[in-house]
């Protein structure tokens, strides 16, 4: 181990590029990813550089690939001592990055940043690391809510559901012929759908939390929606983002779960026929919905930490943060920016805000990334297809987190 550490340190010392040039300009390398590769942060960077003449931003667009491509490249770059100074990161990967000793604590810089108070205390709390320190600066967020087809609900004579029971009734009432009540996402990324009903129904990621009677019952109920009540399309085990959105737009499903990032596309296709409410809650009033985050972090290996912080804090500040979110279609972290928000129809922003009360993230531990990519989709699909029992699925998740 010592030999590896020594080699890594030596390589870093030799390979570290000349970061401050003769004119005293500091170059900050920043990795980012946008869903739409045609979007470019060039204008934002030009604005920042004009306001900060001593800093040059070298922005590198990294393919997202469902998160896999991006993080594999990031981990490899960190191991090879060729990491950028800062990068866009998600909470699910914080533990892995901490285990790699890759992150720089930012409490001191955040303490000295005047606009930090423009980001809500709730958001700062959600972004705290398990050790209580702050390594991430929030950049944008989304909260998942329930989309429903107003026209199909009116035809079926049901109202937007507030509880699990109402959800089941609405799904059954709207399932007719080739229309299914709920467009469930069984492929990668679909854990949000499952979480709303199973984590909302009482399962937790604490030791033993997936196999309590309440947790097992919640999962049985969810699997039965597809297997017994047949309110999911048969393609659900393999459906991804594109399928759930297109099926909903085409009127093949009456409900689905996603966030404000798809709101404009939905409204373009459906106008007033689409609306949204927070995901339903369990009979005991508890609920869970996924908090989708995106932040910036600075890496411990960076030799330009001060300049990097200037850049990432500027990106999270009022107008620049609103500009940034135009590229991603998500919500601003700036309270001032949110006050004049015009990027999405109000009903979807309201549904997001109302959902914040039950919004949470998955455990900030290394096992979560693999849970999202393989453990959840594989076991969910097998349970929906009857290859394993719903309880086997929960035992597999429990084993994944707690051995």
């Amino acid at each position: 181990m010592k030999r590896r550490t020594f080699l890594a340190a030596t390589t870093a010392a030799i390979a570290a590029p000349a970061i401050v040039n003769a004119q005293g300009t500091t170059t900050v390398r920043w990795w980012y990813h946008f869903d739409n590769p045609q979007h470019s942060p060039a204008e934002l960077i030009a604005k920042f550089e004009a306001a900060n003449p001593g800093i040059k931003i070298q922005a590198e667009s990294i393919p997202w690939g469902g998160g896999n491509d991006y993080y594999t490249r990031l981990y490899a770059a960190l191991v090879a001592n060729n990491a950028p100074d800062c990068a866009m990161v998600k909470l699910a990967n914080m533990s892995r990055l901490l285990e790699m000793r890759a992150l720089e604590p930012l409490d001191q810089q955040i303490g000295g940043w005047a606009d930090a108070s423009d980001i809500s205390a709730n958001l700062w709390n959600l972004h705290k690391a398990p050790d209580g320190k702050r390594y991430y600066v929030p950049l944008q967020y989304v909260v998942l809510y329930l989309y429903y087809r107003v026209d199909l609900f009116q035809q079926a004579g049901v109202a937007a559901p507030k509880t699990f029971d109402e959800f089941l009734k609405a799904a059954q009432a709207t399932t007719k012929g080739d229309v299914f009540g709920f467009g469930m996402r069984g492929g990668a990324g679909g854990h949000d759908h499952w979480g709303s009903f199973v984590l909302g129904g009482g399962a937790t990621f604490e030791k033993g939390g997936m196999v309590t009677p309440k947790a097992l019952e919640a999962n049985r109920w969810f699997v039965a929606l597809g297997r017994d009540h047949k309110v999911f399309p048969p393609s659900a085990p393999n459906d991804g983002f594109r399928q759930i959105v297109d099926n909903f737009k085409a009127g093949r499903t009456a409900m689905t779960i996603h966030h404000v990032g798809s709101a404009n596309e939905m409204v373009d296709a459906l106008g007033d026929k689409v609306s949204a409410v927070p995901v339903p809650r369990a009979a005991d009033g508890k609920g869970w919905t996924s908090f989708g985050d995106e932040s910036n972090a600075i890496f411990a290996s960076s030799r330009n930490k001060a300049a990097a912080f200037r850049w990432i804090s500027w990106l999270s500040t009022n107008e620049s943060n609103v500009e940034f979110n135009k590229f991603t279609g998500q919500l601003t972290v700036s309270n001032k920016g949110a006050a004049n928000w015009t990027l999405h129809p109000k009903r979807f922003v309201d549904a997001s805000a109302q959902s914040l009360a039950i919004a949470d993230t998955l455990p900030n531990v290394p096992a979560t990334a693999d849970f999202l990519r393989t453990v959840w989709p594989t076991n969910m699909q097998r349970a929906l297809l009857g290859q394993i029992q719903p309880d086997d699925m929960m035992r597999a998740i429990e084993r994944h987190y707690h051995g």
Partner: protein, 291 residues
Amino acid sequence: MVSSRLTPYYFLAPAILATAAIVLYPVASTLWMSFHDFVLYRPFDVPFTGLRNYERLLADEAFWISLWNSFVWVGLAVGLQFALGMTAALILNESFAFRSLARALVVVPWALPSVIIGLMFTWVYDYNLGLLNDILLRFGFIKSPVAWLADPDIALYAVIVALVWQGFPFFAVIILAGLQAIPGDLHEAAEIDGATRLQRFRHVVWPGLKGVILTALLLRTIWVANSLDVILVMTGGGPGYATHTLPLYAFLRAYSGMEFGYGSALAVVLTLFLISVAAFYVRRTMREAFR
């Protein structure tokens, strides 16, 4: 004298060094990782675990499913690509109107990137909006749509069809080239001797094509056994483990679980299977070289 004997090696040295850097080193590195508990996000803790990764895969249900699927995947994909390619080549070797256009068009699937083919077929197979279900429903072949990629009994075969469509032009082009290399006088002589169409194929065409076909089959087997892009795009290995093949499983363990040690052990097992195919190819090539 000594220097002249060494001259060929001086010329070969750059190629050997490049091969060592881009092939031998990664292979050795994969072997090294397969004997360690190497998790990418734990770079400071890489304990030697001996054969534990290999013991683990023997007890891993997903490994056995992936292994069986790999045999089905290679057998069916290569077999069907060959059958379709051979048929296409024999047709394209005949004279008919617009033959040149047909020869050009047949290459199109081969020229398309795998990701495009994966996405294209994902939408062809789509349960709600797909072309295939629409056609089958309109003509009354099915009463309700089929979830081609979500049904574990069908998904692997549905993906194989996409790969067959992509890969058959390879065989068609190679076999067509082989057919055109057979001298015309042999056909004429056989015809004068009264050979039937089938006899001409058996005694003139087949001996001329045998070598080309064997080489194409071996190469394609290695490529298909290693390929995972189309599966990754179309199903990601699902539903469940229904479309997991060995390279895909190794990829998922390495790049999703970041378990490079276990992923490497899976890759080593796949390599051992492929070495037997490669050895056959090398032996054949050497035999021809020394003939």
